[in-house]
Symmetry: C2
Subunit: 146 residues, 2 copies
């Protein structure tokens, strides 16, 4: 699969969040607009190409290194120097995106910009219920500067 | 063209806003997620199908009437009874979408939920500069309850 092949390049499986955490009531095209075109995860530290496509900063750098300076979405030229931060209106929609907490008994909807803190609280036993699902271990570790 | 043919069904050209008003610095997939899949305008009174696609309420009703109860985006079943209001996180991103005021000398970025009032102010001579471009006449008329 293209997806698996690409993730062998990016190796981000443990650091990025799945788009399946996004509330499944949100419109599909809206959810897609927050998805990295390289790794298919929820965008992490997003950057924008001149053609208007989005990727995690780490993903597009690795992609360009292996496959050359073009956009994974539309194949137009796209080198590291062409990348810019997305507009504030986009970032504020991203940061307020509601995620479903995957902790078994929790079920809370948490904004993306509060999600790490919420998950760490589970790990430290500050919420009801036990530890995080193992999938989140890498994500939380990265947050603790580990 | 499909686009022209569809707009002969919806007849919304004068009532809806062009997606070209959206700041062209925003990511293309993000802009697309605010576009009606029937008329290609900026969504007006959006409703969501069970498959997660979005349309102006008026557009999907006219579309279903002429072409039958299926989704214009993916062809899955979609009747008037299946439509629901989009989630709040989506609506708040839509309402805060920055539009570029098309009034010649203005050039301000205005949130979608302030846009009608801003344009009416131009028409009433409350801002610098003269009247609105003629394209907005129908849109403003609808707002005044005309
Ligand atoms: Zn990733
Ligand atoms: Zn990525
Ligand atoms: Zn592109
Ligand atoms: Zn939780
Ligand atoms: Zn329209
Ligand atoms: Zn429409
Ligand atoms: Zn659909
Ligand atoms: Zn203006």
């Amino acid at each position: 699969q293209r997806e698996q092949w690409m993730r062998n390049i990016t190796r981000c499986q443990k650091d990025h969040l799945s788009t399946k955490l996004i509330s499944d009531k949100l419109p599909v095209d809206f959810v897609f607009s927050f998805t990295c075109l390289v790794c298919d995860h929820l965008l992490s530290d997003p950057v924008q190409s001149p053609c208007g496509h989005l990727f995690c900063r780490g993903c597009i750098i690795k992609y360009n290194h292996v496959l050359g300076p073009h956009c994974p979405g539309c194949n137009l030229p796209c080198a590291a120097d062409d990348l810019s931060p997305p507009a504030k209106a986009f970032l504020s929609a991203l940061h307020s995106l509601p995620l479903l907490c995957p902790q078994g008994e929790c079920g809370e909807q948490v904004r993306l910009d509060s999600f790490k803190a919420h998950c760490l609280d589970h790990e430290l036993g500050r919420h009801q219920g036990s530890r995080q699902p193992a999938e989140l271990d890498g994500y939380l570790l990265a947050n603790k500067g580990g």
